[in-house]
């Protein structure tokens, strides 16, 4: 039984991690494309339209990848998590079905018009189709996070004698305290990814001394969107999301922060250190006293519960994994704010395009928002373990009873091979678009 669960979890983790590399860009990028198109409508300066069309190309590839890797996600609830689906389908099926009906139809119907309809529709209607694609992708994110929030913090349900969860308050799914902070945090983080990607391609052009006009536009737009979104990711949304964890999942919070024992007189914030699960302490720790208590409760000596206060069977299944995921996310988020801050300062001093170290940093930062987004989701998902529905349904009780580990490993290997192929093709094709540049590609 144990290894059945292991492969079910691995397959879900692998496919969702790969999948989310794409929507995190498309959600943020759709907003930036809509911005470029809007700017063009207002100023009639051709370069904005070219920029919109250039990013549309990259958007289209990402979107296609997101769609084809997204369908296996919906299927896997049933194929690998049948028991979970059977017990909670009446509730999470609600939000997932809404995603299909409200978001996927909207996106898929207007994406084609957006990609091929500029001449057919004229600029104003073309802008509208772009806006509708943006709306569809953000609606999709909203309904997924509504589903996620219900699993983290179940509301509006009752449990029948046969163990089934049934909905008794539809509105509660959308007024869930978990939902709005998580959603805004996630969407801001998605704009961080797209800002860094746009800025990195801009920096690439300037440093190579080609497509300079677009290079400057991309860097400028990227750093302004980037600074605003990185700040929103940290405050207020990240702060609110963390406070939800403290309040509703204190054991998760202890593991995230690496607090093994409750400290009297206030908790320190750990910057670096490796969780040592054998001796129940952090090795090689660098920490600042009392900061965590202040950040959490706005009081320097507030007490934060350590792992020692909880039953071991309720610990997150992978404490070190959770701790690292959280610290990588927070560390990168801090670096993003710092870099974007300097970049915007240089922009105002009109020196951004000649400040080499910032341009190089922007270029090399390209993978890191992806890592930050991914580790952010790992924090949420590993943090919810060992539960599927927090405090109510354990992960071990949600897997499909009849799908053997051999069959799941078979399909997992298939997914790994297929996704590696897709990933390589994707990189080749995106590289080709970037290399051609905005003018050639739209000609």
């Amino acid at each position: 039984m144990e290894d059945m669960l292991f492969y079910d979890r691995m397959q879900f983790a692998f496919t969702i991690t790969f999948h989310y590399l794409f929507p995190q860009l498309t959600m943020g990028l759709s907003l930036m494309i809509v911005y470029f198109k809007w700017k063009f409508l207002r100023t009639h300066v051709e370069k904005y339209n070219d920029a919109a069309k250039f990013w549309m190309r990259i958007f289209a590839l990402n979107f296609a990848m997101g769609v084809v890797t997204g369908i296996p996600m919906e299927f896997q609830f049933g194929t690998n998590w049948a028991k979970f689906s059977e017990l909670t389908g009446g509730i999470i099926g609600q939000t997932l079905a809404m995603e299909g009906m409200f978001s996927f139809f909207l996106e898929s119907s207007f994406l084609g018009l957006f990609l091929f309809g500029e001449k057919l529709l004229g600029h104003k209607l073309h802008f509208v189709t772009g806006f509708l694609v943006f709306l569809g992708s953000w609606a999709s994110g909203f309904l997924i996070i509504a589903t996620h929030s219900w699993m983290q913090h179940p509301v509006g349900y009752e449990i029948l004698e046969n163990g089934k969860f049934v909905l008794n308050n539809f509105g509660a799914l959308f007024s869930n305290v978990w939902l709005w902070p998580s959603y805004l945090h996630n969407q801001a983080a998605s704009i961080v990814t797209s800002s860094f990607v746009v800025a990195a391609i801009g920096a690439f052009y300037i440093l190579n001394n080609k497509h300079n006009e677009f290079g400057k536009l991309f860097v400028k737009t990227g750093v302004v969107f980037g600074l605003i979104s990185s700040l929103i990711v940290a405050f207020p949304t990240g702060d609110m999301a963390a406070k939800n964890v403290v309040k509703h999942q204190p054991v998760t919070f202890a593991a995230m922060e690496g607090i093994f024992e409750t400290e009297k007189g206030g908790s320190e914030i750990v910057l670096i250190g490796q969780p040592n699960m054998l001796e129940k302490k952090l090795d090689n720790k660098i920490a600042v006293p009392n900061i965590l208590s202040f950040l959490t409760y706005q009081s320097w000596d507030a007490e934060i519960k350590g792992l020692n206060e909880f039953d071991k069977k309720d610990y997150p299944t992978n404490v070190p994994g959770l701790y690292y995921a959280y610290h990588i996310m927070v560390g990168l988020g801090t670096i993003f704010i710092g870099l974007m801050f300097f970049a915007v300062v240089q922009l105002f001093r009109k020196k951004l395009y000649t400040t080499k170290w910032i341009l190089w940093s922007l270029l090399f930062m390209l993978p890191f928002p992806y890592i930050a987004n991914t580790t952010g989701w790992y924090t949420a998902e590993l943090g919810r373990q060992p539960w599927l529905v927090y405090n109510l349904l354990r992960t071990a009780d949600g897997a499909s009873p009849t799908v053997s580990s051999g069959n799941t490993l078979f399909t997992l290997l298939g997914f790994i091979g297929l996704y590696l192929l897709l990933g390589m093709l994707f990189l080749i094709l995106v590289g080709k678009i970037i290399n051609k540049g905005p003018q050639t590609i739209n000609a």
């Binding site: 190309r57 296609a64 769609v67 084809v68 369908i71 296996p72 919906e74 299927f75 609830f77 049933g78 194929t79 690998n80 049948a82 689906s85 059977e86 017990l87 389908g89 009446g90 999470i92 099926g93 609600q94 997932l96 079905a97 809404m98 995603e99 299909g100 009906m101 409200f102 996927f104 139809f105 909207l106 898929s108 119907s109 207007f110 994406l111 084609g112 018009l113 091929f116 309809g117 057919l120 529709l121 029948l160 049934v166 909905l167 539809f170 499909s400 009873p401 009849t402 799908v403 053997s404 069959n407 078979f410 399909t411 298939g414 297929l418 897709l422 093709l425 094709l429 080709k432 590609i441």
Partner: protein, 358 residues
């Protein structure tokens, strides 16, 4: 309430089959009959702006299945694990074939993605037919061995095949001669359907040839349908029970045969959309007749120990089903509006849309 969602789900599945069905059919035609670059282009143009939205019907139907009939979703998705995951892989290949072909102008690159698109379309048609065969044949619910359930009463698992390939074997497989028969029906039907769509949406030089192909395949289809009806009693001793009890249900088979016989006149159609209309009628009638014959069962049990899954014993709770009606009605109105806009913008012949050209 269960009945409402049952009708919704079946309608969505039928819409999916009719819409994505023409994409599969176009893929099969592309694989076997399109030789010149111009014909290939015409075919991908004819489905290019639509296939993605068509596929959404499958995802949306899956969502409705999950939400309205969670027990059926859980039972069938885990039980038909392997073919479902393979369908996912094929859908991925189909999509990459269509979307990547035009990205690089190189003969070898184009050939690879042409084949990926064609072969995955063919296999998808076959798999979906086999899937329908599995649902009507039923499965060993509860995985009964020697009269004792080894799993909860509504769970099962099927390997791809057993050694006898018989639908009456004790240990069933996904593929047996009965499900293969329905798989073939699906391939032939969707080939005809796809050909009709291509005739409708393009001025391809293939069109005259396609009419001949449709005409000939229609005889094959008629033969396959007759064989299926003759062997149907193997899986269901009283296949016409529901129809005799509620004679209005005969409407569905009548629709089926209207579509089938209408297509024999394909060569003399003045309006080119007519062929597509008839093959759509055949698909709609065929699917509805099939589910009507097993109603209210949604997944029959092949053993005497555990009862069949019916729409009543797999449905979600009353409140959720009722509240779902509100958002669903709004969503359906929106979806209808999108479809009107989409098909209006891309109306008429599509030979020169330039789909996928970069």
């Amino acid at each position: 309430m269960e009945l409402f969602w049952y009708i919704v789900l079946m309608t969505m599945l039928a819409v999916y089959v009719i819409l994505d069905g023409y994409d599969f059919g176009a893929g099969i035609i592309h694989l076997f009959f399109a030789k010149s670059e111009k014909d290939k282009k015409a075919i991908t143009n004819a489905i290019g702006p639509f296939w993605d939205a068509n596929e959404v019907w499958l995802i949306a139907a899956g969502g409705v299945l999950f939400f309205a009939f969670p027990t059926l979703y859980a039972s069938s998705f885990s039980g038909f694990y392997l073919p479902l995951i393979m369908i996912l892989w094929l859908l991925i290949f189909r999509a990459t074939g269509l979307e990547l072909r035009g990205q690089i102008h190189n003969k070898m690159w184009e050939t690879i993605w042409d084949k990926a698109f064609g072969v995955s379309s063919l296999l998808l048609a076959l798999f979906f037919g086999i899937a329908l065969g599995n649902v009507v044949r039923g499965v060993n619910l509860g995985m009964v061995e020697n009269g004792v359930s080894t799993q909860e009463a509504h769970y099962f698992f099927l390997p791809l095949w057993n050694t006898t390939f018989s639908p009456q074997a004790e240990h069933l497989g996904i593929i047996d001669w009965f499900t293969i028969l329905l798989g073939l029906v699906a391939v032939v039907t969707l080939t005809i359907h796809g050909a009709n769509w291509i005739i409708f949406k393009t001025n391809s030089s293939l069109n005259t040839k396609l009419k001949k192909i449709i005409f000939n395949l229609n005889f094959v289809l008629l033969a396959l349908v007759i064989i299926s009806l003759l062997v149907w009693h193997v899986i269901e001793p009283k296949p016409f029970h529901n129809f005799l009890k509620n004679p209005w249900l005969f409407l569905f088979p009548i629709i089926t045969f209207t579509g089938l016989f209408g297509l024999f006149k394909v060569k003399s159609f003045k309006k080119e959309g007519l062929g597509f209309l008839f093959s759509s009628l055949f698909l709609f009638g065929g699917l509805t007749s099939t589910v009507a014959s097993i109603f209210p069962k949604v997944l029959p049990s092949t053993n005497a120990v555990n009862p069949s899954l019916t729409l009543y014993n797999v449905a979600a709770h009353e409140y959720g089903l009722s509240v779902g009606v509100y958002w669903f009605v709004i969503a359906v109105i929106l979806v209808a509006a999108y479809m009107v806009i989409q098909y209006k913008v891309f109306k008429g012949k599509m030979d020169n849309v330039g789909y996928g050209e970069h």
